[in-house]
């Protein structure tokens, strides 16, 4: 048996013995599935209004009830999952896509001017109140899913730049990097060949956590009206719209809220689980 698959079976066995990780995986899978299924099927057309059937509570016909326009809440949630996941995915992608190369570059050129600029730039972005800047960005470019992505993505860049710089700096002092340098490899090559693969676990774990934060951030932006525009359903906007109906039709606020909570919970459990499973210390003490 080759080493790789041995490592993998070990991972799977450990994963099966980690209930929190499994719960996270299940919840995440559930929402991803809902988002995917919504492309081909939803119980109702989520944009179809039936003013006469508005504010109906949950029933066998409308599982999660209807909203103030008589639209089916369950169908809207399914399509909303699509928006949340897409926005979060692309925003985290922006963070990784810009942040990791910056971090690697800064680490490879430690204490250089570039490093200083990258780090101070990070500090600057961190120093801004994120929600306010996001509101400003959408005030400049107008509301919409794309701008929400940009706003959330910008704040993900320093997270990943810092993370990958820090981890890369400690890797740069490791002897296998010294060996690669003795083998004549340049900084760029070492960064791609040796540093990046060893950051993968860390990036996956942080990526999952940032993903969950991005889902929350998207909900927050949509709540203040800066997310995806109607009629595209969005969890945050559904909550905002539900607010005035809270005593009249609490289900309108309950289900989107639960959807956010469960998705974020699932992603966090997944991220924590991945970290546990990749951390040999914890893995050993569990095994």
């Amino acid at each position: 048996m080759s080493g790789h698959s041995q490592q993998e079976t070990g991972f799977i066995r450990a994963a099966l013995g980690h209930p929190a990780f499994l719960a996270g995986l299940l919840l995440t899978a559930l929402f991803v599935a809902a988002a995917l299924v919504s492309f081909v099927w939803t119980p109702f057309d989520p944009e179809k209004m039936q003013i006469a059937a508005k504010l109906k509570g949950p029933s066998t016909e409308h599982w999660f009830g209807t909203d103030h326009f008589g639209r089916d809440v369950f169908s809207m949630l399914m399509v909303g999952a699509r928006v949340s996941i897409a926005v979060a995915f692309v925003a985290v992608g922006i963070g990784i896509g810009f942040g990791v190369p910056l971090g690697l570059y800064a680490a490879a050129n430690r204490n250089s001017l570039i490093d200083e600029i990258v780090m101070r730039g990070n500090d600057l972005i961190f120093a801004f109140p994120s929600l306010l800047l996001a509101i400003l960005i959408t005030a400049v470019f107008g509301p919409g899913a794309i701008n929400a992505i940009i706003a959330i993505g910008i704040f993900n860049i320093p997270v990943f730049a810092r993370l990958s710089r820090g981890a890369a700096l400690s890797l740069w002092t490791r002897e296998f990097i010294l060996a690669a340098r003795v083998a004549g490899k340049g900084a760029a090559r070492i960064s791609v060949e040796h540093i990046l693969p060893n950051l993968m676990n860390l990036l996956i774990v942080q990526g999952t956590i940032q993903f969950s934060l991005a889902v929350l951030a998207e909900a927050g932006l949509a709540y203040v009206g800066l997310g995806a525009q109607p009629p595209t359903p969005s969890w945050g906007r559904m909550l905002a719209e539900a607010q005035t109906f809270i005593s009249l039709a609490p289900h309108m606020a309950l289900f989107p809220g639960l959807a956010i909570v469960l998705t974020v919970l699932g992603l966090n459990l997944l991220g924590d689980g991945l970290r546990d499973l990749h951390d040999p210390r914890i893995r050993r003490s569990r095994g």
Partner: protein, 533 residues
């Protein structure tokens, strides 16, 4: 009455058996040396006595401290016992002290926890204890924090904490392993005297036979969780009834077979000319830069083809900095380095990459030296990158196979990952990686320091035979004088960035000229041959 008696101790952690049938006893004023290689269970035996085992541990058997059975004690009684009846010193003085408390506070704490004396009295006694362990409270204030002390001073603080209440039994778990030889000698003296004065019993745990042979009254040799041989030191060393004891002894004193094959007339493989390496020190004021710290101060040296040169010195002397400079991993602030007569790197310029293939390296840590995500094939072949027309396909495969076989591994090992190998095997792979482009010089930076003695002996044999067969030169950097003595033709002694003494290995070891060299050699514990014992 024995201060400690352990009978039939068995221990398992998370269901995995660790110790079985361990019997030990220590009398007052007696030093028991427990010796064994890593994984032999010697530290866990000590922690069993302290009852500081991990939660998942289960133990059975009989442990009596000063006549009281530990098995019968509850946690409260155990807390009373720890520090008062039994005390312990650990290996790492760097991490064993709490960084946020002053040393005086930490010493006094032992007293305060157990006695009802006042805080002021405790501080007074702490100062007295510092004096006793050789820390003059006038020079080293009790208000200092651990990070302001050297390793040896911290270990003295740890000892002061341990002996504060004159415990009946002192357990020292490799207390000198992390220290330089000169410091080690002082700490061993201190412990020996304290045991004598207070009539304590002491368990001294070590992997180093040489240390124990000069210190212990009696010895227990451990292996795989068992005591394989025990008895008075003299008897054990003389009789060596168990095979393992014998193997351990011969590995510790091992001298590999080698022949000198120096080409005295050839172009030196390495010429270091007036090399300076400086580090920036933190600024003291905003407007004035501090003077940089000179880690390597105008060092000049040559290595001839086929020559094995040793570089010894205590930690912080600059030997590893020099190694990094020779490997052109850092820029020079002065001087130049030539490989095979051509400039490799010099002050004010980066390394000449064409020369890079002339030198390779083996590092200390067999675990950190390899990218865990690459196969051995890829790891070993990495330096081939340096060759302009790197061999490909079958030719490349043949090179990899030859390098692996050269170091005693098999061609099939190329498909494995590094975590599937033991420490000794990894060090072989590191050597294979260094050999694959046939460099004229290999820098061995503490290359055997992390290995157990038996593995170390094998690697030294391998290095000796490779040097003989391939004619490659070594720069062998180590703090361990006996290892350097066994494998080098010539040796240099480094101190505070300068080479203070240089000569053939026999000259330097038999007739050291520099006071520092003399001190180093005197402090190095020597394993007495059985005949002398």
């Amino acid at each position: 009455m024995s201060v400690l008696s352990v009978r039939n101790l068995a221990l398992s952690i998370g269901g995995t058996p660790i110790l079985h049938d361990v019997d030990l006893s220590v009398e007052a004023g007696e030093i028991l040396g427990v010796v064994g290689e890593s994984g032999s269970g010697k530290s866990l035996t000590a922690l069993s006595i302290m009852q500081l085992l991990p939660r998942s541990a289960k133990w059975a058997g009989e442990i009596e401290v000063a006549g009281n059975s530990i098995g019968a004690m509850n946690e409260k009684a155990l807390c009373k016992m720890r520090g008062r009846d039994v005390a312990m010193i650990f290996q790492e003085p760097m991490t064993a002290l709490n960084p946020v408390h002053t040393i005086g506070h930490q010493i006094a704490e032992t007293i305060l926890i157990h006695n009802e004396c006042s805080r002021a009295q405790a501080s007074e006694r702490a100062a007295a204890l510092m004096h006793r362990v050789g820390l003059d409270p006038k020079k080293i204030s009790p208000d200092r924090y651990p990070h302001e002390l050297s390793g040896g001073q911290r270990q003295r603080v740890a000892i002061a904490m341990a002996i504060a209440l004159r415990p009946k039994l002192l357990i020292a778990d490799e207390p000198t392993t992390a220290l330089d030889v000169t410091t080690q000698a002082q700490i061993l003296d201190l412990l020996r005297n304290l045991v004598k004065q207070d009539r304590m019993g002491m368990i001294f745990i070590t992997h180093d036979l040489a240390v124990i042979s000069n210190l212990a009254d009696k010895i227990a040799v451990m292996r795989h969780g068992e005591v394989v041989e025990a008895g008075p030191t003299d008897t054990v060393f003389r009789e060596m009834r168990h095979d393992y004891t014998r193997a351990l002894f011969s590995a510790s004193a091992h001298v590999p077979k080698r022949e000198a094959h120096i080409n005295a007339d050839g172009e030196p493989v390495l010429a270091v000319d007036e090399v300076v390496r400086e580090y920036a020190r933190p600024r003291k004021s905003l407007f004035q830069a501090s003077r940089p710290f000179r880690a390597v101060d105008s060092v000049t040296l040559k290595i001839r083809p086929g020559e094995n040169v040793g570089l010894v010195g205590e930690s912080g002397c600059g030997k590893s900095t020099l190694a990094r400079a020779i490997l052109a991993l850092d820029r020079l602030q002065g001087g130049k380095i030539l490989l095979n007569g051509r400039v490799f790197s010099q002050a004010g310029a980066g390394p000449d990459m064409r020369q890079r293939a002339g030198v390779q390296v083996v590092f200390q840590d067999p675990y950190g030296s390899f990218n865990p995500r690459h196969t051995v094939r890829r790891l070993v072949a990495e330096p081939l990158y340096l060759i302009e027309n790197a061999p490909a396909g079958a030719e490349r495969e043949a090179k990899i196979t030859r390098a692996l076989e050269e170091v005693g591994l098999q061609a099939s090992d190329a498909d494995k990952y590094i975590h599937e190998f033991s420490g000794g095997q990894r060090q072989r792979i590191a050597i294979a990686r260094a050999l694959i482009i046939e460099p004229s010089l290999i820098v061995l930076d503490e290359a055997v320091s992390a290995l157990d003695v038996s593995i170390r002996a094998q690697i030294l044999d391998l290095l000796a035979s490779l040097s003989t067969r391939l004619g490659v030169s070594y720069l062998f950097i180590s703090h361990d004088l006996s290892v350097v003595r066994s494998i080098t033709d010539r040796v240099m002694v480094m101190r505070e960035g300068r080479i203070v003494e240089e000569g053939t290995t026999e000259e330097v070891f038999l007739a050291p000229k520099h006071a520092y060299t003399k001190m180093l050699i005197a402090a190095t514990p020597v394993l007495k041959a059985p005949a002398e014992a």
